[in-house]
Amino acid sequence: MELIDQLFVLLKQAILKTSESFLPPVFLPFLSILISITAIALFAPLTMMYLTWLERKVIARMQNRFGPNRVGIYGLLQPIADGIKMLTKEDVVPLGADRVVHFLAPVAVVVPSLLLFSVLPFGRGMTAVNLDIGLLFFIAVSSIGTLAIFMGGWASRNKFSLLGAMRALAQMISYEVPLVLSVVPVVMMTGTLSTQKIVEAQAGWRGFHWYLFTPWGVVGFLIFFICSVSEVNRTPFDIPEGESEIVAGFHTEYSGMKFALFYMAEFLGAFAYSALGATLFLGGWQGPLLPSWLWFGLKTFFLVFVMIWLRGTFPRLRVDQLMSYAWKFLLPMALVNILAAGIWHYLSFPLSLIVSASVLLIGFIALSRLAPTGTRLEKRVYRYAE
């Protein structure tokens, strides 16, 4: 059991040991970093490709059709076919666009989404870079991605993409605030920002120590998940590339490999955010039987499935609904959640559960009073017509 669990860690040590013989010792730290970098560099595009495949299959199944099954057995080679198609597509740069920013934008979008992977705890002892400010690093890097989307929109010099970029910017900024606030209770409880220690703090007792099983954990997880769906511009919140209204939002003028980079960044972001959600609230690689990295994979897979499930179900939100939802509901709810977490921390067990749950409930009811009004059909009264 232990071998399977530490499979990758032992693999890395084995490589280091074998290379010790012929490499001068000064290179060893670089080599160990290099190994984890190549692991991520291989793992990330692969997950991205097979997330696109998974998304098309799941959404197809939800709409009573098969999804790609021509290329390869179950359409498994479809992502590779897409990749090749993207490579062969001609790369058009609009006439008026300033080429530097046009070229820079896809790079600036992909780099942060790859950086996010360096901080995720894939398994016991399998965090690429064990920063003690891992979580803060994650959020800081994801805010760089926001800017890159603006660069993309501005550089293509067309009204639709600029509109899409401005919307994307406004949306991602206004959802970043509740995202950070929903993470604060987890940091309060564990006392550290490092993702590794957060997962270790949720260990034990057959998985009931996950943060999800506390009143503030549930609300925090919901807020976190909603904000991460919006941070990654997916379904109910995918206004920036709202296909129906503004052509394809900020990546209208991108074709070929550059568009593939934007596409890849979106999926890497989706995977990274669901992985973070699993780490913070579902106890990363904690789990009774299976090896640790498999537990991490299952939980992230489940959250990615929920994201795709959302895509299969919901229509797109209007921009003002989206904004008012973030500022009027999610942000206050996250603050109430921090209060509830504080109460949970300082009261003894039975009382703390009741008080914090009730605080959250009162908060929810108070906020939903601000909710947009319902609508009822009524007969129109004409003053002059009849």
Partner: protein, 194 residues
């Protein structure tokens, strides 16, 4: 007449608690579809086209074909040119066959249908007095160029009567019965005068 319009009103207390319910219901519906697509038999009805094919309806018609009884050399068509005259887009061209002395024969030398023009209306089938031309069901007719290969010549149009029975069994049976009667009537009628 009165129009209905959506008036906004504040939520009832009951509705406030149920804010998230609509979302949950919608999600359950899609999840059910997802699971059913694996479990329930009929839920996915897509037909994998080249491998599986849906049966074509009997009355389906596409481009016309010429029917012959025994040998392709003498089709039922007597080159009377009625179908060419009746064809709305004028896509049929017929040239009567001539024997050595130049007298017209009851056989077309050249019979072309420009399939790219034909709108498969079926008028030629109704108009033909000699049951020679009928609508076929063949629809996979892609070609490399528009001009020549879509102008079907006589050899491409001829089909045996057995093929006609295969694609349209009921009509073929009626037509053959009718032809047999006419045959019998023609045999008996000259027989009596002689």
């Amino acid at each position: 007449m009165s129009f209905l319009y959506a008036k906004r009103y504040p939520l009832y207390a009951k509705e406030q608690l149920m804010l998230g319910l609509g979302i949950a219901k919608g999600m359950i519906v899609t999840l059910k579809q997802f699971i059913e697509s694996y479990t329930k038999k009929g839920s996915i009805f897509t037909v994998q086209y080249p491998e599986e094919r849906k049966p074509i309806a009997e009355a389906f018609r596409n481009f016309p074909i010429l029917v012959y009884d025994e040998t392709p050399e003498d089709p039922r068509c007597v080159a009377c040119d009625i179908c060419a005259k009746e064809c709305p887009p004028k896509c049929i061209t017929i040239v009567r066959d001539r024997d050595e002395q130049g007298r017209g024969l009851q056989k077309p030398k050249l019979f072309d249908i420009d399939v790219s023009v034909c709108m498969s209306c079926g008028i030629c089938e109704e108009v033909c007095p000699f049951d020679a031309i009928y609508m076929d069901k063949e629809f996979e007719l892609s070609a490399y160029n528009r001009m020549h290969s879509l102008n079907f010549h006589q050899e491409q149009l001829l089909r045996p009567n057995s093929y006609f029975h295969k694609i349209r069994p009921t009509d073929a049976a009626q037509i053959d019965a009718k032809r047999k009667e006419k045959e019998k009537a023609k045999n008996t009628q000259p027989g009596t005068t002689a």
